[in-house]
Amino acid sequence: MAAAFLMNRVFQSVGIGMLALASARAGDDMAFFESKVLPLLQSRCYECHSHEKKIKGGLALDLKLGWQTGGDNGPAIVPGDVAKSHVIEAVRYTNPEMEMPPKGKMTAGEIEIFEKWVAMGAPDSRVKQTTAKSARVIDFEEGKKFWAFRPVSGEAAPAVQQTNWPLDLMDCFILDKLEANGLSPAPDADAYTWLRRVSLDLTGLPPTPDEMARFDASPASRAAAVDRLLQSSAFGERWARHWLDLTGYADQIGTSNSVFAEHAWRYRDYVINAFNSDKPFDRFIREQIAGDLLPAASPQERAANITATGFLVLGDVEIVAVDKLKMEHDLVDQQVSKIGTAFLGLTLGCARCHDHKFDPVAQTDYYAIAGMFRSTDATYKTENGVWSSVHKTELPETAGQKAGREQMLAVNDVKIRHWEVERDNSNKEKAALEPQIASATKETKPSLEKKRDELAARIKTLNGQIEHAKFFAPVAPKAFAVHDRENPADMRITIRGNPYALGDTVKRGALRVASWADFSKIPAGQSGRVQLADWIADARNPLTARVTVNRIWQKLFGEGLVRSVDYFGVRGETPSHPELLDYLAARFMENGWSQKQLIRALVLSRAYRMSSSQNATAEAKDPDNRLLWRMNRQRLDAEAIRDSMLAISGKLTPSSGGPALPLEFPENVNSLSPKAVNPPAFAFKKMRPVQDFERTIYLPVIRTATQPGSAKLRDVFDFTQPAQIAGKRAETAVPTQALFLLNSDTVRARATELAKQLGDSEANIGARLEALWLRILSRPITSSEREDAVKFLETMPAEKAWIELSHALLSSNEFLLRL
């Protein structure tokens, strides 16, 4: 104690002595600062870097502490080191990414003042302290207390008063909340409404008159209907689309120049199969993040695993950037952000440049995950100009597939040779015509010229066909997919997202706030995607199952238990029924992450049976229906509107998937030459006729332009922009939709077809009306409607009247809504 005291005194006196020696010079330095530097700071920097005005980039220059701590780029000045001080770099305008002041370079004299000041050690006489902006330090333990980051707890169902209401334990949670708030659940919807509801929700199609006839609303009949729907391929065709909304899927790479993504459909088909085969969701996660690294028991499984990683590269991937390093970093950011939104319900992209402003996600958390994707190859530079493309992986084939393909290749070769022969002959013939034309008489010349021009046109067509056939020659199947880089490594922080300004190296790992143990060891030579997938798909991850069951709930009940389905962070919505959310999450995982089992239980619940009708008392208490005292009505999405119209008019044509883009027509493709400046691109001159009758999910998805052919309906009815990652679609009522319903050929054609079919099959007006109502609205016609319809039919000629009447029903709210 005494010794320490003594030592202190010694140091203090030494310190005082040094201070005294230095003080004379210090006085001059301070004078320089105050007379030269400070006015410059005030006039050129404070506007954006002071507590009075703004603190851009986190940098305040009105305090000594400000430049010492620095902003997002770290300390702004290294006293004595001109070369290492960001402020000097900025005012010298040597780095185009950071030129200060932004509106114009300072004079040479002014820059010199700054250089001199930094060289002399940046003396700064300002002593004022501020509490205004102290750096936020993320407390992860504190962060873990937030509901979304707490472990999922296996909640027991609460006891309820109205014991005869619940059909499933989950109903108890709903009823309990209603009873606690003095509300009662709405009565059951009638049988027709329920059957239409469940059919649309599970398959995106209304029930057929036959299915309605067989349905008797008994528990067995309901269960049978649900099982039939879950087993139909229409189920996967609907629910795969919900998932694709979270991937930014399109049959186009990026958004520039209509570059076709000719293999993208394999990922779409993979997702449809995953839903139809009820692939356990934890497996679904692993395949999409790291399928290329997973073991496989068969060539088919291996092919599916590789195809699944399309998840990582089928968003709006920029491929035309001239700065490839920056482009790759931007793609990594997209991948991290997409994983954050789709699986975890977090906005991770925010942490690319700084710690997340609201959520306990540090910048280092971001780079821990980003390092895995920086260690993964997703794009490569092509021969076309400045263009890159998304990486493609050849898929393993069975012997049978290989043999079939080789046979097709042989046929293609023959076809090409045949065309080449014809072209060469035409060329010769054309060459032979030239001298004849030169020496022809006035009379014979026109016919010879005509012949030559015809030959020239034919040669052009043949060349196009040959180029097309060569380009699209049957080769081993490929999928857009990723693979690990040769030397996977931890990543360095990029300062403000600039890949040339690097900060500390961050060890690969996961989000600390959602972790329960140290991150698994990443084997040498691997990216770490397997370990990340394991972490996301772990039953102990607090987010994954909650986010997933909430998404399913939202699709069935109209609103999520957490209404901000893509964002579970602290500024998101809190769950209306937190215990139910946890109960469902736990049940989902216990049942092997089976989506079909969860969906089956939810649609057979009592809550799902409720009518959607209003109730004034309940509405006064809970206008937003947060407590679910009735079913939420939903407007059909674009796919369900189009597919239902096709089904109702008996024209829906089953598809087994396959290429969405009709690239087999040479007129739909341009720029096929491998050395062209721009990459091969599509142009929609022609669709396959069958595409007008296939389910919407099979139609090409185009990112920049209006959707081709009858897919146009998607543009009108709130289809998620395929550059966006969104679990819930916007729902708007704009006049364009009404105009589409009134005047589009699409709706008119369905109405016309329907009227014709009814006219052919039902002679009697009453039966025809009955059939029309059953088909379009999935319920019998009422007597007042029949009266109204009969009157309507009398106002115009029969054929036209039936078209108009069908059209009227297809544009009615009852058809467009699922009640």
Binding site: T347, T736, A808, S812
Partner: protein
């Protein structure tokens, strides 16, 4: 969050007698309509905007910013201060390409404008030329996206949507945001997470009777009486359902929009009809001109819409992407757009509208002072120019910006700004400022965050304000 259904029970009660009798005016003027007029935050200089978008990237070295050094070095290699991280295709020789045609001082201020733009030259004293505008991406799609939405990727509300959201519609009978002849990327006039009422309405000026100015506008049944009977039947069905289920803002919204759509069929063709304009006006714009007709009609329509109170009108004119043979192609693009754009300014001025209408003319980027030759074998006279976001030229007029004023300077190459640098975020914040909106306050909560057009950037360019 995106819901824009408004409960209008009183409206429904009032109109229970007949949906058909309803005026569009009543439909959209409900007090809580997202398009209801909102007061600006501070006194505004401009009430509306017309944005003339030169899609493809006009060549500012040829049109507004010639450099002696480049002229002297024509055909020779220059050592450009380029970013070596970037790939180059066809520009790797860095051959200086002298300005084509003459760029001369114009008007009282001596603003530099090319002979290729004689009509623009004649309005030099009305416009404010920014010569050091700067953007972040050198590819069309991301650059155009940034110009319209502030970001180079993703889906965000467009400039017109933000302005519609900030100020509402001046004329409740018309959309607040119209985009004439837009590019194919629908995000350029989309509202993203803002209510759909703020999205741009795409308008095509029909070149034949078969074309419709707005999609799905032509009555498909070809029989107006039958169509109305059908709509009435549908609306009776809708009314019965509504009575049965109780209040439903969504259904009410759908019922309304069907009536709005019906009325749009009547009013929209009128809206794009310019036959009532005087011959002198049509001639001023170049209506009927071989090169100018399409853009002349579009600009004239823009004035008409703007005059009628549409908050944001955009006209897109393409054809500026001159990678090769620019000396041949550029004069054509100029000829197609010069007269219509200049006429718009003159017409607005003569009608007293220019003072509170802000007009902006710009491409998504400019072009390089050195040449581009994708073939690698053409003579310099046949070369083109590559994209250049580092600096390019934009002009503005009216709406409280300084007329006859040139702002910003680039280096000896005409590549990087040396003074008066204006980033797109600065341009956006300035546009909002002139409309009385603070770009830092105009926000929308989405995914837990308050989004702005200018993200965390943007400074109002006070130097150019009158």
């Amino acid at each position: 969050m995106n819901t824009n259904f408004i409960s209008r029970r009183s409206w429904l009660q009032r109109t229970a007698t007949g949906f058909g009798a309803l005026a569009l005016h009543d439909l959209v003027q409900a007090a809580q309509s997202p398009l209801a007029v909102k007061a600006p935050r501070f006194p505004a200089k401009a009430k509306r905007v017309i944005f003339l978008f030169m899609s493809g990237g006009p060549s500012q070295p040829d049109l507004f910013d010639p450099k002696d050094y480049i002229k002297r070095m024509h055909g020779q290699k220059v050592s450009a201060p380029i970013n070596t991280n970037e790939l180059r295709v066809g520009t790797d020789k860095f051959l200086a390409l002298a300005t084509h045609g003459e760029v001369k001082p114009r008007g009282q201020s001596g603003m530099m404008i090319s002979d290729l733009l004689p009509h623009t030259a004649s309005i030099a004293d009305e416009i404010c030329l920014l010569r050091a505008v700067h953007a972040d991406n050198n590819q069309h799609q991301p650059a155009a996206l940034q110009f319209h939405t502030g970001v180079t990727a993703d889906v965000r509300p467009s400039l017109g949507s933000w302005i519609s959201y900030g100020l509402g519609a001046e004329n409740q009978n018309l959309p607040s945001f119209i985009s004439i002849h837009p590019d194919s990327d629908t995000r350029l006039y989309g509202s993203s997470f803002l209510p759909a009422a703020h999205q741009g309405t795409k308008v095509i000026i029909p070149s034949s009777d078969k074309q419709s100015p707005i999609d799905y506008l032509a009555d498909v049944s070809g029989d107006a009486k039958a169509q109305r009977a059908r709509i009435d039947f549908t609306q009776r069905m809708n009314k019965r359902l509504l009575d049965q289920t109780g209040t439903d803002a969504r259904m009410e919204g759908m019922i309304e929009s069907m009536e709005t759509a019906f009325r749009m069929q009547m009013t929209a063709p009128e809206l794009v009809d310019i036959s009532n304009e005087s011959e002198a006006t049509k001639q001023l714009y170049g209506v009927g001109g071989k090169d100018t007709d399409k853009n002349a009609r579009a600009c004239l329509l823009a004035r008409k819409m703007s005059e009628a109170g549409v908050r944001f009108v955009q006209v897109t004119m393409g054809g500026w992407d001159h990678h090769g043979n620019i000396r041949d192609a550029l004069p054509k693009s100029c000829a197609a757009s010069d007269q219509p754009c200049a006429a718009l300014i003159k017409d607005l001025k003569s009608r007293g509208l220019l003072e509170d209408t802000l007009v902006i003319w710009s491409g998504e980027f400019g072009r390089t002072p050195w040449s581009q030759d994708l073939s690698g074998t053409s003579p310099i006279e046949k070369h083109g120019r590559e994209h250049q976001p580092e600096s390019f030229c934009t002009w503005m007029a009216g709406g409280g910006v300084k007329p006859g004023f040139t702002f910003g300077e680039t280096d000896d190459f005409g590549f990087r700004p040396v003074s008066g640098k204006v980033h797109l975020h600065d341009l956006h914040s300035t546009i909002l400022h002139q409309l009385g909106l603070d770009h830092e306050q105009l926000t929308w909560r989405h995914l837990g965050r308050d989004f702005r057009l200018t993200d965390v950037y943007g400074n109002v360019v006070k130097e150019i304000l009158a």
